[in-house]
């Protein structure tokens, strides 16, 4: 960079600094303070936010997580061997009701637990 360019750059930098630092100041409109204080009073008058009821939710969440894990285990336990066998020896699937007794009772039990937890949570909500 020659001396002239350096001088021009310096001059431009000074001009930019002066220009941006000298922006005219806006004055707040007449109703601004009142509007802000009205919002603040509304905020102050509002009831405090209700905290999320973790104590009540936690047991239900644990039961649901347990059920999901158990269902996953059962599904893999029952389906994986059958799926592996079917992949190895693809044959038309034949429905054997005798084999389904185990899973059906499991599903019925899970549905029962889900219904029970729904009833308990509905009662808790009504009480709250």
């Amino acid at each position: 960079m020659n001396r002239l360019e350096a001088h021009n750059t310096e001059e431009a930098n000074v001009a930019i600094d002066r220009l941006l630092a000298s922006e005219p100041e806006l004055a707040p409109s007449s109703g601004f303070l009142a509007a802000v204080m009205e919002s603040i009073r509304d905020e102050a008058a509002a009831p405090p936010q209700i905290a999320f009821p973790w104590k009540r939710v936690l047991p239900g969440a644990v039961v649901i997580a347990g059920l999901v894990a158990w269902s996953g285990y059962e599904a893999s336990h029952w389906l994986a061997p059958a799926l592996r066998e079917w992949i190895m020896n693809p044959a038309p699937i034949q429905l054997n009701l005798a084999h389904l007794t185990g899973p059906v009772s499991g599903i019925a039990f899970a549905a029962g637990v889900a219904l029970l937890s729904w009833l308990i949570s509905a009662r808790l909500i009504r009480r709250a």
Binding site: E10, A12, N13, A21, E23, L26, L33, A35, V36, I40
Partner: protein, 208 residues
């Protein structure tokens, strides 16, 4: 005995501390002292982010409401103004991300090619406004340091604290922003040097 005395002295000396203490003690109306003191700076700061007066007031109001909600979180490690400006900058930044300010693309900011034409076509005031509008069209990473640094006589350290960036990064971004503006307005230095006026009365010494 020294520490409590110092705290009392600080409280007596700093109007912000006094007002915050009163608000935290449950006196809602004491917040008006804070709003009165900081309304002009906050509106002007918002204006520099969006260059829309109505929106600037809305943004400043939102910043005050957030300050009210978060007043207890001010740990007094930094000045109240630094905390307030940092909070306001967050409010303005996130709002402008959702609804960007209307600005011309940086490359289209008005800039006649020669000093003579510049003098003919644009008055000095128009030129100043063009440059200020071009700031709004800078990429976000360069725009915010410029907005904050040239606002309220801030220095690089204050700007860095508000942006939660290292001072070196702020200096580099300021320098790059100035390069971009200089390239966009190559005649700026000569034009303004030739026509010094009241528009540029306030000077800010800076060469980071």
């Amino acid at each position: 005995m020294n520490a409590p005395t110092t705290q009392i002295e600080q409280l007596a000396a700093d109007p912000d501390l006094q007002a915050v203490a009163r608000v935290l003690a449950g006196e809602v109306e004491a917040f008006e002292l804070i709003v009165r003191r900081w309304q002009t700076p906050l509106i002007n700061m918002a204006w520099r982010y969006c260059r829309d007066r109505h929106r600037a007031e809305e943004l400043a109001q939102e910043a005050f409401v957030r300050a009210w909600r978060g007043l207890a979180s001010w740990r007094q490690e930094s000045a109240f103004s630094t905390w307030l400006f940092a909070l306001a900058a967050n409010v303005f930044r996130s709002d402008l991300k959702r609804f960007p300010a209307v600005s011309v693309p940086f490359e289209e900011a008005a800039e006649p090619s020669t000093a003579a034409r510049q003098h003919d076509i644009l008055s000095e005031a128009q030129l100043c406004e063009s440059v200020r509008s071009a700031v709004l069209a800078l990429p976000q990473r360069y725009r915010e340091p410029v907005v904050l640094f040239y606002f309220q006589e801030m220095d690089v350290d204050q700007t860095a604290r508000i942006m939660k960036l290292p001072p070196g990064t702020v200096k580099a971004r300021l320098s790059r922003a100035r390069d971009l503006l200089r390239q966009r307005f190559p005649q700026l230095g000569r034009t303004l040097a030739a026509h010094p006026s009241g528009l540029l009365a306030t000077q800010k010494e800076l060469q980071p």
